[in-house]
Protein backbone atom coordinates (compact mmCIF):
# COMPACT_ATOMS: atom_id res chain seq x y z
CA UNK A 1 0.00 0.00 0.00
CA UNK A 2 2.72 2.48 1.02
CA UNK A 3 4.76 1.83 -2.11
CA UNK A 4 1.70 2.35 -4.27
CA UNK A 5 1.07 5.73 -2.64
CA UNK A 6 4.71 6.69 -3.13
CA UNK A 7 4.32 5.73 -6.78
CA UNK A 8 1.28 7.97 -7.16
CA UNK A 9 3.09 10.85 -5.48
CA UNK A 10 6.04 10.50 -7.85
CA UNK A 11 3.66 10.42 -10.83
CA UNK A 12 2.01 13.67 -9.74
CA UNK A 13 5.42 15.18 -8.91
CA UNK A 14 6.40 14.64 -12.53
CA UNK A 15 3.42 16.71 -13.60
CA UNK A 16 4.42 19.52 -11.24
CA UNK A 17 7.91 19.52 -12.70
CA UNK A 18 6.55 19.67 -16.26
CA UNK A 19 4.19 22.53 -15.40
CA UNK A 20 7.03 24.42 -13.71
CA UNK A 21 8.58 24.76 -17.19
CA UNK A 22 6.13 27.61 -17.73
CA UNK A 23 8.18 29.64 -15.25
CA UNK A 24 11.41 29.20 -17.21
CA UNK A 25 12.29 31.84 -19.79
CA UNK A 26 14.66 29.89 -22.05
CA UNK A 27 12.85 27.64 -24.53
CA UNK A 28 15.59 25.01 -24.53
CA UNK A 29 15.42 24.81 -20.76
CA UNK A 30 11.64 24.65 -20.92
CA UNK A 31 11.90 21.63 -23.21
CA UNK A 32 14.33 19.95 -20.82
CA UNK A 33 12.17 20.58 -17.76
CA UNK A 34 9.01 19.37 -19.53
CA UNK A 35 10.73 16.16 -20.67
CA UNK A 36 12.17 15.68 -17.18
CA UNK A 37 8.68 15.90 -15.69
CA UNK A 38 7.37 13.36 -18.16
CA UNK A 39 10.23 10.99 -17.34
CA UNK A 40 9.64 11.32 -13.59
CA UNK A 41 5.95 10.48 -14.07
CA UNK A 42 6.88 7.50 -16.24
CA UNK A 43 9.26 6.25 -13.54
CA UNK A 44 6.42 6.53 -11.04
CA UNK A 45 4.15 4.38 -13.22
CA UNK A 46 6.65 1.84 -14.52
CA UNK A 47 9.26 1.66 -11.80
CA UNK A 48 7.25 2.10 -8.62
CA UNK A 49 3.49 1.63 -8.96
CA UNK A 50 3.49 -1.27 -11.41
CA UNK A 51 6.35 -2.96 -9.58
CA UNK A 52 4.35 -2.78 -6.36
CA UNK A 53 1.46 -4.55 -8.08
CA UNK A 54 3.76 -7.21 -9.52
CA UNK A 55 4.84 -8.17 -5.99
CA UNK A 56 1.51 -9.97 -5.63
CA UNK A 57 0.96 -10.95 -9.27
CA UNK A 58 -1.43 -13.83 -9.85
CA UNK A 59 1.17 -15.86 -11.75
CA UNK A 60 3.52 -15.82 -8.77
CA UNK A 61 1.03 -17.60 -6.53
Amino acid sequence: MAVKIVGLIVIVLGWFIAVSSTQVSNTGLQLFVAVLGLVVSAVGVIGILNRAHLEHAIWKS
Binding site: A18, T22, Q30, L31, A34, A42, L49, H53, A57, I58
Partner: protein, 565 residues
Amino acid sequence: MLITALWLWGWLVPTVVRADDHAAASAPVQYAQAQQAAPSAAAAPAPVPITDADLKAVAGPKTEDLAKGDPGGTLTGSVNDIVVSDPKKGLTLADLVNMVGQNRIAINLVWTLVTGYLVMFMQAGFAAVETGLCRAKNANHTMMMNFMVYSFGLFAYWVMGFAIQQGGCAPNANLGGLNPLNGEFTATVLGKPWGLFGTKGFFLSGSTYDVGVMVMFLFQMVFMDTAATIVTGAAAERWKFAAFGVSTFCLAAITYPLFGNWAWGGGWLANLGTNYHLGHGYADFAGSGVVHAVGGMTALAVAIIIGPRIGKYNRNGSPNPIPGHDITMVLIGCFILAFGWFGFNPGSTLGASGAGNLRIGSIAVNTMLAGATGSFGAIFYMWIRFGKPDASMSGNGLLAGLVAITAPSGFVNTVGATIIGFTAGLLVCLSVEFFERVMKIDDPVGATSVHGTCGLWGVISVGLFADGTSNYGGSWNGVDGSVRGLFYGDPSQLVAQLIGCATLVGVIFTLSYLFNWLVDILVGQRVDAASELEGLDLPEMGAVGYPEFQLVTAGLGRSVDISGQ
Protein backbone atom coordinates in the same frame (compact mmCIF):
# COMPACT_ATOMS: atom_id res chain seq x y z
CA MET B 1 18.65 3.64 -41.98
CA LEU B 2 21.01 6.33 -43.35
CA ILE B 3 19.24 6.34 -46.71
CA THR B 4 15.87 6.56 -44.99
CA ALA B 5 17.09 9.43 -42.81
CA LEU B 6 18.44 11.30 -45.83
CA TRP B 7 15.18 10.77 -47.68
CA LEU B 8 13.17 12.14 -44.77
CA TRP B 9 15.53 15.07 -44.35
CA GLY B 10 15.25 15.80 -48.04
CA TRP B 11 11.50 16.05 -47.65
CA LEU B 12 11.54 18.07 -44.47
CA VAL B 13 14.17 20.71 -45.20
CA PRO B 14 12.71 22.03 -48.45
CA THR B 15 9.29 22.03 -46.80
CA VAL B 16 10.67 24.14 -43.95
CA VAL B 17 11.93 26.70 -46.43
CA ARG B 18 8.64 26.71 -48.33
CA ALA B 19 6.65 27.12 -45.15
CA ASP B 20 8.77 30.02 -43.93
CA ASP B 21 8.41 31.80 -47.23
CA HIS B 22 4.80 30.87 -47.69
CA ALA B 23 3.29 34.31 -47.36
CA ALA B 24 5.82 35.91 -49.66
CA ALA B 25 5.68 33.11 -52.20
CA SER B 26 1.93 32.88 -52.40
CA ALA B 27 1.30 36.61 -52.86
CA PRO B 28 2.82 36.92 -56.36
CA VAL B 29 0.87 33.89 -57.53
CA GLN B 30 -2.41 35.42 -56.43
CA TYR B 31 -1.40 38.71 -57.99
CA ALA B 32 -0.64 37.04 -61.32
CA GLN B 33 -3.96 35.22 -61.36
CA ALA B 34 -5.82 38.43 -60.56
CA GLN B 35 -4.08 40.19 -63.44
CA GLN B 36 -5.16 37.50 -65.87
CA ALA B 37 -8.71 37.30 -64.67
CA ALA B 38 -9.76 40.91 -64.23
CA PRO B 39 -9.60 43.97 -66.49
CA SER B 40 -7.65 47.01 -65.33
CA ALA B 41 -9.01 48.97 -62.39
CA ALA B 42 -9.53 52.08 -64.51
CA ALA B 43 -11.89 50.26 -66.87
CA ALA B 44 -13.89 48.52 -64.14
CA PRO B 45 -17.30 50.00 -63.38
CA ALA B 46 -17.74 51.56 -59.96
CA PRO B 47 -19.51 49.22 -57.49
CA VAL B 48 -23.20 49.99 -56.99
CA PRO B 49 -24.87 49.20 -53.64
CA ILE B 50 -27.62 46.59 -53.83
CA THR B 51 -30.99 47.86 -52.64
CA ASP B 52 -34.23 46.14 -51.67
CA ALA B 53 -35.65 47.29 -55.02
CA ASP B 54 -32.91 45.38 -56.86
CA LEU B 55 -33.81 42.21 -54.98
CA LYS B 56 -37.49 42.57 -55.86
CA ALA B 57 -36.49 42.72 -59.52
CA VAL B 58 -34.94 39.28 -59.33
CA ALA B 59 -37.43 36.83 -60.79
CA GLY B 60 -37.50 33.19 -59.80
CA PRO B 61 -38.72 30.33 -61.97
CA LYS B 62 -42.46 30.24 -62.63
CA THR B 63 -44.69 27.73 -60.88
CA GLU B 64 -45.83 26.21 -64.18
CA ASP B 65 -42.21 25.62 -65.17
CA LEU B 66 -41.45 23.95 -61.83
CA ALA B 67 -44.59 21.80 -62.24
CA LYS B 68 -42.99 20.20 -65.30
CA GLY B 69 -40.20 18.81 -63.13
CA ASP B 70 -36.56 19.82 -62.96
CA PRO B 71 -34.40 16.89 -64.07
CA GLY B 72 -31.38 19.11 -64.67
CA GLY B 73 -31.57 20.83 -61.30
CA THR B 74 -31.34 24.30 -62.87
CA LEU B 75 -34.61 25.65 -61.49
CA THR B 76 -34.66 24.21 -57.98
CA GLY B 77 -33.23 26.55 -55.37
CA SER B 78 -33.76 30.17 -56.30
CA VAL B 79 -34.89 33.52 -54.96
CA ASN B 80 -38.27 31.87 -54.34
CA ASP B 81 -36.72 29.75 -51.62
CA ILE B 82 -35.33 32.61 -49.53
CA VAL B 83 -37.36 33.03 -46.37
CA VAL B 84 -38.76 36.54 -45.97
CA SER B 85 -39.45 37.99 -42.54
CA ASP B 86 -42.42 40.08 -43.64
CA PRO B 87 -44.45 38.89 -46.65
CA LYS B 88 -45.97 42.34 -47.09
CA LYS B 89 -42.55 43.91 -47.61
CA GLY B 90 -41.28 41.06 -49.73
CA LEU B 91 -37.60 40.16 -49.99
CA THR B 92 -35.24 42.64 -48.34
CA LEU B 93 -31.50 42.88 -48.09
CA ALA B 94 -31.73 41.93 -44.42
CA ASP B 95 -33.55 38.71 -45.38
CA LEU B 96 -30.83 37.90 -47.87
CA VAL B 97 -27.98 38.49 -45.42
CA ASN B 98 -29.68 36.50 -42.67
CA MET B 99 -30.24 33.64 -45.09
CA VAL B 100 -26.54 33.56 -45.96
CA GLY B 101 -25.62 33.48 -42.26
CA GLN B 102 -28.11 30.76 -41.45
CA ASN B 103 -26.97 28.71 -44.44
CA ARG B 104 -23.40 28.80 -43.14
CA ILE B 105 -24.45 27.65 -39.71
CA ALA B 106 -26.77 25.04 -41.24
CA ILE B 107 -23.92 23.60 -43.28
CA ASN B 108 -21.77 23.46 -40.15
CA LEU B 109 -24.50 21.90 -37.99
CA VAL B 110 -25.24 19.22 -40.59
CA TRP B 111 -21.55 18.54 -41.12
CA THR B 112 -20.91 18.17 -37.40
CA LEU B 113 -23.94 15.93 -36.91
CA VAL B 114 -23.12 13.63 -39.82
CA THR B 115 -19.50 13.26 -38.78
CA GLY B 116 -20.73 12.60 -35.24
CA TYR B 117 -22.88 9.77 -36.59
CA LEU B 118 -19.77 8.33 -38.24
CA VAL B 119 -17.90 8.45 -34.94
CA MET B 120 -20.83 6.74 -33.21
CA PHE B 121 -20.52 3.88 -35.72
CA MET B 122 -16.94 3.38 -34.55
CA GLN B 123 -18.44 1.65 -31.51
CA ALA B 124 -19.28 -1.24 -33.82
CA GLY B 125 -15.67 -1.33 -34.96
CA PHE B 126 -14.33 -1.37 -31.41
CA ALA B 127 -16.78 -4.12 -30.48
CA ALA B 128 -15.66 -6.27 -33.41
CA VAL B 129 -11.93 -5.71 -32.83
CA GLU B 130 -12.04 -6.41 -29.10
CA THR B 131 -14.34 -9.40 -29.33
CA GLY B 132 -12.33 -10.91 -32.16
CA LEU B 133 -9.11 -10.56 -30.17
CA CYS B 134 -10.65 -12.31 -27.15
CA ARG B 135 -11.39 -15.99 -26.76
CA ALA B 136 -14.77 -17.34 -27.85
CA LYS B 137 -15.73 -18.17 -24.28
CA ASN B 138 -15.77 -14.44 -23.50
CA ALA B 139 -17.49 -13.24 -26.69
CA ASN B 140 -20.82 -12.26 -25.14
CA HIS B 141 -19.15 -10.50 -22.21
CA THR B 142 -16.72 -8.51 -24.35
CA MET B 143 -19.39 -7.56 -26.87
CA MET B 144 -21.74 -6.49 -24.07
CA MET B 145 -19.12 -4.25 -22.48
CA ASN B 146 -18.65 -2.52 -25.81
CA PHE B 147 -22.41 -2.30 -26.23
CA MET B 148 -23.31 -0.99 -22.78
CA VAL B 149 -20.44 1.50 -22.61
CA TYR B 150 -22.55 3.55 -25.00
CA SER B 151 -25.50 3.73 -22.62
CA PHE B 152 -23.53 4.09 -19.36
CA GLY B 153 -21.26 6.70 -20.86
CA LEU B 154 -24.03 8.68 -22.52
CA PHE B 155 -26.03 8.90 -19.32
CA ALA B 156 -23.08 10.08 -17.22
CA TYR B 157 -22.04 12.58 -19.87
CA TRP B 158 -25.57 14.01 -20.07
CA VAL B 159 -25.82 14.33 -16.28
CA MET B 160 -22.53 16.13 -15.70
CA GLY B 161 -19.69 15.21 -18.08
CA PHE B 162 -20.67 17.58 -20.87
CA ALA B 163 -21.11 20.51 -18.47
CA ILE B 164 -17.69 19.95 -16.91
CA GLN B 165 -16.05 19.69 -20.32
CA GLN B 166 -17.82 22.22 -22.51
CA GLY B 167 -19.73 24.37 -20.03
CA GLY B 168 -17.44 27.32 -20.65
CA CYS B 169 -16.44 26.83 -24.28
CA ALA B 170 -18.31 29.81 -25.74
CA PRO B 171 -17.93 31.52 -28.13
CA ASN B 172 -17.84 29.14 -31.08
CA ALA B 173 -18.46 30.92 -34.36
CA ASN B 174 -18.91 27.72 -36.39
CA LEU B 175 -21.96 26.53 -34.48
CA GLY B 176 -23.77 29.82 -34.06
CA GLY B 177 -21.92 31.04 -31.01
CA LEU B 178 -22.88 28.43 -28.37
CA ASN B 179 -23.46 31.43 -26.14
CA PRO B 180 -25.31 29.53 -23.38
CA LEU B 181 -22.07 27.64 -22.63
CA ASN B 182 -20.48 30.61 -20.89
CA GLY B 183 -19.58 29.31 -17.43
CA GLU B 184 -15.96 28.34 -16.69
CA PHE B 185 -14.60 27.97 -13.15
CA THR B 186 -11.14 29.51 -13.00
CA ALA B 187 -8.47 29.77 -10.33
CA THR B 188 -5.32 31.85 -10.27
CA VAL B 189 -2.30 29.54 -10.51
CA LEU B 190 1.28 30.69 -11.05
CA GLY B 191 -0.04 34.21 -11.47
CA LYS B 192 -2.42 33.39 -14.33
CA PRO B 193 -6.07 32.41 -14.59
CA TRP B 194 -6.45 28.66 -15.09
CA GLY B 195 -9.74 27.35 -16.43
CA LEU B 196 -10.47 24.16 -14.47
CA PHE B 197 -14.01 23.02 -15.36
CA GLY B 198 -17.21 24.21 -16.96
CA THR B 199 -20.35 25.05 -15.03
CA LYS B 200 -23.13 25.25 -17.63
CA GLY B 201 -25.04 22.42 -19.28
CA PHE B 202 -25.85 19.92 -16.52
CA PHE B 203 -28.68 17.73 -17.86
CA LEU B 204 -28.70 20.02 -20.93
CA SER B 205 -31.29 22.07 -19.12
CA GLY B 206 -32.07 25.78 -18.80
CA SER B 207 -30.46 28.03 -21.37
CA THR B 208 -28.44 25.13 -22.79
CA TYR B 209 -31.66 23.82 -24.37
CA ASP B 210 -30.25 25.30 -27.57
CA VAL B 211 -29.89 24.06 -31.16
CA GLY B 212 -26.14 24.62 -31.32
CA VAL B 213 -25.50 23.13 -27.88
CA MET B 214 -27.38 19.97 -28.85
CA VAL B 215 -25.12 19.47 -31.87
CA MET B 216 -22.05 20.09 -29.74
CA PHE B 217 -23.31 17.59 -27.16
CA LEU B 218 -23.86 14.84 -29.70
CA PHE B 219 -20.46 15.32 -31.26
CA GLN B 220 -18.58 15.50 -27.96
CA MET B 221 -20.52 12.59 -26.49
CA VAL B 222 -19.49 10.12 -29.19
CA PHE B 223 -15.88 11.21 -28.70
CA MET B 224 -16.11 10.52 -24.99
CA ASP B 225 -17.64 7.15 -25.76
CA THR B 226 -14.62 6.28 -27.87
CA ALA B 227 -12.34 6.93 -24.90
CA ALA B 228 -14.55 4.85 -22.61
CA THR B 229 -14.59 1.84 -24.90
CA ILE B 230 -10.78 1.73 -25.07
CA VAL B 231 -10.64 0.55 -21.46
CA THR B 232 -12.83 -2.50 -22.05
CA GLY B 233 -10.21 -4.01 -24.34
CA ALA B 234 -7.35 -3.78 -21.83
CA ALA B 235 -9.41 -5.37 -19.04
CA ALA B 236 -11.22 -7.92 -21.19
CA GLU B 237 -11.70 -11.56 -20.16
CA ARG B 238 -11.49 -10.91 -16.39
CA TRP B 239 -13.39 -7.66 -15.66
CA LYS B 240 -16.46 -7.88 -13.46
CA PHE B 241 -19.37 -6.37 -15.38
CA ALA B 242 -20.62 -4.30 -12.43
CA ALA B 243 -17.14 -2.85 -11.89
CA PHE B 244 -16.96 -2.01 -15.57
CA GLY B 245 -20.22 -0.06 -15.27
CA VAL B 246 -19.04 2.04 -12.31
CA SER B 247 -15.60 2.62 -13.84
CA THR B 248 -17.18 3.80 -17.10
CA PHE B 249 -19.37 6.25 -15.20
CA CYS B 250 -16.29 7.75 -13.50
CA LEU B 251 -14.50 8.20 -16.83
CA ALA B 252 -17.50 9.69 -18.62
CA ALA B 253 -18.50 11.98 -15.76
CA ILE B 254 -15.15 13.18 -14.43
CA THR B 255 -11.75 12.20 -15.84
CA TYR B 256 -12.48 12.53 -19.55
CA PRO B 257 -14.46 15.80 -19.18
CA LEU B 258 -11.73 17.35 -17.04
CA PHE B 259 -8.99 16.85 -19.62
CA GLY B 260 -11.48 17.71 -22.38
CA ASN B 261 -12.13 21.03 -20.65
CA TRP B 262 -8.46 21.80 -20.20
CA ALA B 263 -7.76 21.12 -23.88
CA TRP B 264 -10.98 22.00 -25.73
CA GLY B 265 -13.26 23.81 -23.32
CA GLY B 266 -11.17 26.92 -22.74
CA GLY B 267 -9.20 25.40 -19.85
CA TRP B 268 -5.64 25.99 -18.71
CA LEU B 269 -3.88 23.75 -21.24
CA ALA B 270 -5.50 25.56 -24.16
CA ASN B 271 -4.37 28.85 -22.63
CA LEU B 272 -0.69 27.94 -22.29
CA GLY B 273 -0.17 30.14 -25.34
CA THR B 274 -2.00 33.23 -24.12
CA ASN B 275 -0.78 32.85 -20.53
CA TYR B 276 2.81 31.68 -20.95
CA HIS B 277 3.60 32.28 -24.65
CA LEU B 278 4.00 28.56 -25.33
CA GLY B 279 3.11 28.39 -29.02
CA HIS B 280 -0.65 28.30 -29.52
CA GLY B 281 -1.21 26.51 -26.24
CA TYR B 282 -1.83 22.78 -26.07
CA ALA B 283 -3.07 21.90 -29.57
CA ASP B 284 -4.99 18.66 -30.06
CA PHE B 285 -7.05 18.92 -33.20
CA ALA B 286 -9.24 15.84 -32.87
CA GLY B 287 -8.11 14.12 -29.72
CA SER B 288 -4.96 11.96 -29.76
CA GLY B 289 -4.61 13.20 -26.21
CA VAL B 290 -8.15 14.13 -25.20
CA VAL B 291 -9.74 10.92 -26.46
CA HIS B 292 -7.12 8.26 -27.08
CA ALA B 293 -4.50 8.97 -24.45
CA VAL B 294 -7.17 9.53 -21.80
CA GLY B 295 -8.64 6.14 -22.75
CA GLY B 296 -5.16 4.63 -22.90
CA MET B 297 -4.11 6.00 -19.50
CA THR B 298 -7.31 4.72 -17.93
CA ALA B 299 -6.81 1.36 -19.62
CA LEU B 300 -3.30 1.21 -18.19
CA ALA B 301 -4.53 2.04 -14.69
CA VAL B 302 -7.26 -0.62 -14.84
CA ALA B 303 -4.92 -3.23 -16.34
CA ILE B 304 -2.39 -2.65 -13.54
CA ILE B 305 -5.05 -2.92 -10.83
CA ILE B 306 -6.86 -5.91 -12.29
CA GLY B 307 -3.74 -7.93 -13.14
CA PRO B 308 -3.07 -10.41 -15.94
CA ARG B 309 -5.35 -13.24 -17.04
CA ILE B 310 -4.79 -16.72 -15.64
CA GLY B 311 -2.36 -18.48 -17.96
CA LYS B 312 -0.90 -15.34 -19.48
CA TYR B 313 2.35 -15.60 -17.52
CA ASN B 314 4.35 -18.60 -16.36
CA ARG B 315 5.80 -18.79 -12.86
CA ASN B 316 9.09 -17.35 -14.12
CA GLY B 317 7.26 -14.37 -15.60
CA SER B 318 7.59 -15.35 -19.24
CA PRO B 319 4.46 -14.53 -21.26
CA ASN B 320 2.27 -16.98 -23.18
CA PRO B 321 0.41 -15.88 -26.30
CA ILE B 322 -3.37 -16.09 -25.95
CA PRO B 323 -4.68 -15.68 -29.49
CA GLY B 324 -8.09 -14.23 -30.22
CA HIS B 325 -10.83 -16.34 -31.73
CA ASP B 326 -11.77 -14.46 -34.91
CA ILE B 327 -9.21 -12.56 -36.95
CA THR B 328 -11.78 -11.79 -39.66
CA MET B 329 -13.87 -9.94 -37.09
CA VAL B 330 -10.76 -8.04 -35.98
CA LEU B 331 -9.84 -6.79 -39.44
CA ILE B 332 -13.41 -5.92 -40.40
CA GLY B 333 -13.59 -3.96 -37.15
CA CYS B 334 -10.41 -2.13 -38.08
CA PHE B 335 -11.92 -1.11 -41.41
CA ILE B 336 -15.06 0.13 -39.67
CA LEU B 337 -12.88 2.19 -37.37
CA ALA B 338 -10.88 3.60 -40.28
CA PHE B 339 -14.16 4.59 -41.94
CA GLY B 340 -15.41 6.22 -38.75
CA TRP B 341 -12.17 8.17 -38.43
CA PHE B 342 -13.31 10.27 -41.39
CA GLY B 343 -15.88 11.60 -38.96
CA PHE B 344 -13.42 11.88 -36.10
CA ASN B 345 -10.78 14.07 -37.73
CA PRO B 346 -12.44 16.13 -40.49
CA GLY B 347 -15.50 16.50 -38.23
CA SER B 348 -13.36 18.18 -35.60
CA THR B 349 -13.41 21.37 -37.64
CA LEU B 350 -16.98 21.61 -36.27
CA GLY B 351 -17.95 23.01 -39.63
CA ALA B 352 -17.44 22.91 -43.37
CA SER B 353 -18.11 26.55 -44.20
CA GLY B 354 -15.93 29.54 -43.41
CA ALA B 355 -13.04 30.06 -40.96
CA GLY B 356 -10.60 27.85 -42.85
CA ASN B 357 -12.88 24.84 -42.66
CA LEU B 358 -12.32 23.93 -46.31
CA ARG B 359 -9.19 22.24 -45.00
CA ILE B 360 -11.40 19.21 -44.35
CA GLY B 361 -10.08 17.57 -47.53
CA SER B 362 -6.50 17.88 -46.32
CA ILE B 363 -7.49 16.50 -42.91
CA ALA B 364 -9.21 13.50 -44.51
CA VAL B 365 -6.22 12.73 -46.73
CA ASN B 366 -3.84 13.01 -43.76
CA THR B 367 -6.08 10.58 -41.89
CA MET B 368 -6.10 7.93 -44.59
CA LEU B 369 -2.36 8.28 -45.23
CA ALA B 370 -1.39 7.90 -41.57
CA GLY B 371 -3.64 4.87 -41.17
CA ALA B 372 -2.13 3.20 -44.20
CA THR B 373 1.47 3.93 -43.22
CA GLY B 374 0.70 2.83 -39.67
CA SER B 375 -0.30 -0.62 -40.86
CA PHE B 376 2.74 -0.60 -43.15
CA GLY B 377 5.05 0.22 -40.22
CA ALA B 378 3.59 -2.56 -38.10
CA ILE B 379 3.72 -5.21 -40.82
CA PHE B 380 7.27 -4.11 -41.63
CA TYR B 381 8.32 -4.60 -37.99
CA MET B 382 6.52 -7.90 -37.49
CA TRP B 383 7.75 -9.41 -40.75
CA ILE B 384 11.37 -8.60 -39.97
CA ARG B 385 11.18 -9.54 -36.29
CA PHE B 386 9.05 -12.70 -36.46
CA GLY B 387 9.20 -13.69 -40.13
CA LYS B 388 5.44 -13.37 -40.77
CA PRO B 389 3.16 -10.43 -41.57
CA ASP B 390 1.06 -10.67 -38.43
CA ALA B 391 -2.61 -9.87 -39.12
CA SER B 392 -3.69 -8.59 -35.71
CA MET B 393 -0.66 -6.32 -35.40
CA SER B 394 -1.27 -5.02 -38.92
CA GLY B 395 -4.72 -4.05 -37.74
CA ASN B 396 -3.29 -2.47 -34.60
CA GLY B 397 -0.77 -0.64 -36.81
CA LEU B 398 -3.62 0.86 -38.82
CA LEU B 399 -5.31 2.00 -35.63
CA ALA B 400 -2.01 3.29 -34.22
CA GLY B 401 -1.47 5.46 -37.29
CA LEU B 402 -5.02 6.77 -37.04
CA VAL B 403 -4.66 7.48 -33.32
CA ALA B 404 -1.38 9.31 -33.87
CA ILE B 405 -2.68 11.52 -36.70
CA THR B 406 -5.78 12.51 -34.75
CA ALA B 407 -4.13 15.45 -32.92
CA PRO B 408 -2.01 16.74 -35.80
CA SER B 409 -4.44 16.01 -38.67
CA GLY B 410 -5.55 19.64 -38.92
CA PHE B 411 -2.07 21.12 -38.74
CA VAL B 412 0.30 18.98 -40.83
CA ASN B 413 0.94 18.24 -44.50
CA THR B 414 0.84 14.83 -46.15
CA VAL B 415 4.56 14.15 -45.72
CA GLY B 416 4.26 14.83 -42.00
CA ALA B 417 1.18 12.61 -41.80
CA THR B 418 3.04 9.79 -43.52
CA ILE B 419 5.98 9.98 -41.12
CA ILE B 420 3.68 10.24 -38.09
CA GLY B 421 1.67 7.19 -39.18
CA PHE B 422 4.65 5.02 -40.05
CA THR B 423 6.36 5.86 -36.76
CA ALA B 424 3.18 4.97 -34.88
CA GLY B 425 3.09 1.60 -36.66
CA LEU B 426 6.59 0.79 -35.40
CA LEU B 427 5.91 2.28 -32.00
CA VAL B 428 2.82 0.18 -31.34
CA CYS B 429 4.76 -3.05 -31.89
CA LEU B 430 7.57 -1.96 -29.57
CA SER B 431 5.07 -0.78 -27.00
CA VAL B 432 3.09 -4.04 -27.02
CA GLU B 433 6.30 -5.97 -26.39
CA PHE B 434 7.36 -3.53 -23.65
CA PHE B 435 4.07 -3.72 -21.77
CA GLU B 436 3.88 -7.50 -22.13
CA ARG B 437 7.49 -8.50 -21.44
CA VAL B 438 8.93 -5.70 -19.27
CA MET B 439 5.96 -4.34 -17.35
CA LYS B 440 4.14 -7.69 -17.42
CA ILE B 441 0.83 -5.97 -18.05
CA ASP B 442 -1.72 -8.14 -19.79
CA ASP B 443 -3.62 -6.13 -22.38
CA PRO B 444 -5.53 -8.61 -24.59
CA VAL B 445 -6.12 -6.16 -27.44
CA GLY B 446 -3.11 -3.84 -27.12
CA ALA B 447 -5.33 -0.89 -26.18
CA THR B 448 -2.72 0.72 -23.94
CA SER B 449 -0.17 0.70 -26.74
CA VAL B 450 -2.50 1.70 -29.57
CA HIS B 451 -4.31 4.48 -27.73
CA GLY B 452 -1.99 5.37 -24.86
CA THR B 453 1.47 5.24 -26.40
CA CYS B 454 0.44 6.34 -29.87
CA GLY B 455 -1.94 8.93 -28.43
CA LEU B 456 1.00 10.54 -26.64
CA TRP B 457 3.05 10.30 -29.82
CA GLY B 458 0.27 12.07 -31.70
CA VAL B 459 0.26 14.91 -29.17
CA ILE B 460 4.04 15.28 -29.41
CA SER B 461 3.97 15.15 -33.22
CA VAL B 462 1.91 18.35 -33.33
CA GLY B 463 4.82 20.07 -31.66
CA LEU B 464 7.16 18.67 -34.31
CA PHE B 465 5.32 18.60 -37.63
CA ALA B 466 2.65 21.38 -37.55
CA ASP B 467 3.56 23.31 -40.68
CA GLY B 468 1.99 26.71 -40.06
CA THR B 469 -0.37 26.64 -43.05
CA SER B 470 -3.67 26.06 -41.26
CA ASN B 471 -5.86 29.06 -40.60
CA TYR B 472 -9.01 28.37 -38.63
CA GLY B 473 -10.38 31.88 -38.40
CA GLY B 474 -6.94 33.48 -38.08
CA SER B 475 -5.99 32.16 -34.65
CA TRP B 476 -5.86 29.05 -32.49
CA ASN B 477 -6.56 29.04 -28.76
CA GLY B 478 -6.60 32.83 -28.83
CA VAL B 479 -3.12 33.17 -30.32
CA ASP B 480 -2.92 34.81 -33.74
CA GLY B 481 -1.51 32.87 -36.68
CA SER B 482 -1.39 29.14 -37.27
CA VAL B 483 0.13 26.33 -35.24
CA ARG B 484 3.79 25.70 -36.05
CA GLY B 485 5.96 22.91 -34.67
CA LEU B 486 9.66 22.57 -33.92
CA PHE B 487 10.59 21.61 -37.49
CA TYR B 488 8.80 24.71 -38.75
CA GLY B 489 10.29 27.23 -36.38
CA ASP B 490 8.40 27.17 -33.07
CA PRO B 491 9.97 24.98 -30.36
CA SER B 492 7.68 26.50 -27.71
CA GLN B 493 4.74 24.62 -29.26
CA LEU B 494 6.56 21.38 -28.41
CA VAL B 495 6.82 22.52 -24.78
CA ALA B 496 3.04 23.00 -24.67
CA GLN B 497 2.53 19.54 -26.13
CA LEU B 498 4.90 17.95 -23.60
CA ILE B 499 3.05 19.63 -20.73
CA GLY B 500 -0.12 18.10 -22.18
CA CYS B 501 1.51 14.66 -22.17
CA ALA B 502 2.74 15.14 -18.61
CA THR B 503 -0.80 16.06 -17.60
CA LEU B 504 -2.16 12.90 -19.19
CA VAL B 505 0.33 10.73 -17.32
CA GLY B 506 0.61 12.75 -14.12
CA VAL B 507 -3.00 13.75 -13.52
CA ILE B 508 -5.36 11.71 -15.69
CA PHE B 509 -3.60 8.40 -15.01
CA THR B 510 -3.51 9.16 -11.29
CA LEU B 511 -7.19 10.12 -11.12
CA SER B 512 -8.16 7.02 -13.12
CA TYR B 513 -6.04 4.85 -10.86
CA LEU B 514 -7.61 6.31 -7.69
CA PHE B 515 -11.18 5.92 -8.99
CA ASN B 516 -10.58 2.35 -10.07
CA TRP B 517 -8.74 1.53 -6.87
CA LEU B 518 -11.85 2.68 -5.02
CA VAL B 519 -14.05 0.57 -7.32
CA ASP B 520 -11.79 -2.39 -6.58
CA ILE B 521 -12.27 -1.88 -2.84
CA LEU B 522 -16.03 -1.31 -3.02
CA VAL B 523 -17.17 -3.58 -5.87
CA GLY B 524 -14.16 -5.71 -6.74
CA GLN B 525 -12.68 -5.37 -10.21
CA ARG B 526 -11.90 -8.98 -10.99
CA VAL B 527 -14.08 -12.06 -11.41
CA ASP B 528 -13.23 -15.21 -9.48
CA ALA B 529 -10.80 -17.74 -10.94
CA ALA B 530 -13.46 -20.37 -11.69
CA SER B 531 -15.48 -17.91 -13.75
CA GLU B 532 -12.41 -16.76 -15.60
CA LEU B 533 -11.43 -20.30 -16.51
CA GLU B 534 -14.95 -21.17 -17.59
CA GLY B 535 -15.23 -17.97 -19.61
CA LEU B 536 -17.25 -14.93 -18.53
CA ASP B 537 -20.22 -15.49 -20.83
CA LEU B 538 -22.22 -17.73 -18.52
CA PRO B 539 -21.04 -16.56 -15.06
CA GLU B 540 -21.31 -12.85 -15.82
CA MET B 541 -23.87 -12.56 -18.63
CA GLY B 542 -25.97 -15.71 -18.26
CA ALA B 543 -25.69 -16.68 -21.92
CA VAL B 544 -22.87 -17.80 -24.16
CA GLY B 545 -21.82 -16.04 -27.34
CA TYR B 546 -21.78 -19.18 -29.49
CA PRO B 547 -24.30 -21.64 -27.99
CA GLU B 548 -24.09 -24.26 -30.75
CA PHE B 549 -20.34 -24.79 -30.54
CA GLN B 550 -18.18 -26.97 -28.27
CA LEU B 551 -15.16 -24.81 -27.43
CA VAL B 552 -11.78 -26.21 -26.49
CA THR B 553 -9.66 -24.03 -24.24
CA ALA B 554 -6.17 -24.34 -25.62
CA GLY B 555 -3.26 -24.63 -23.23
CA LEU B 556 -5.31 -25.49 -20.15
CA GLY B 557 -5.56 -29.21 -20.91
CA ARG B 558 -9.33 -29.40 -20.83
CA SER B 559 -12.36 -28.63 -22.93
CA VAL B 560 -15.15 -26.43 -21.68
CA ASP B 561 -18.73 -27.16 -22.58
CA ILE B 562 -20.39 -23.80 -23.00
CA SER B 563 -23.55 -25.08 -24.61
CA GLY B 564 -25.48 -24.33 -21.46
CA GLN B 565 -27.09 -27.79 -21.47
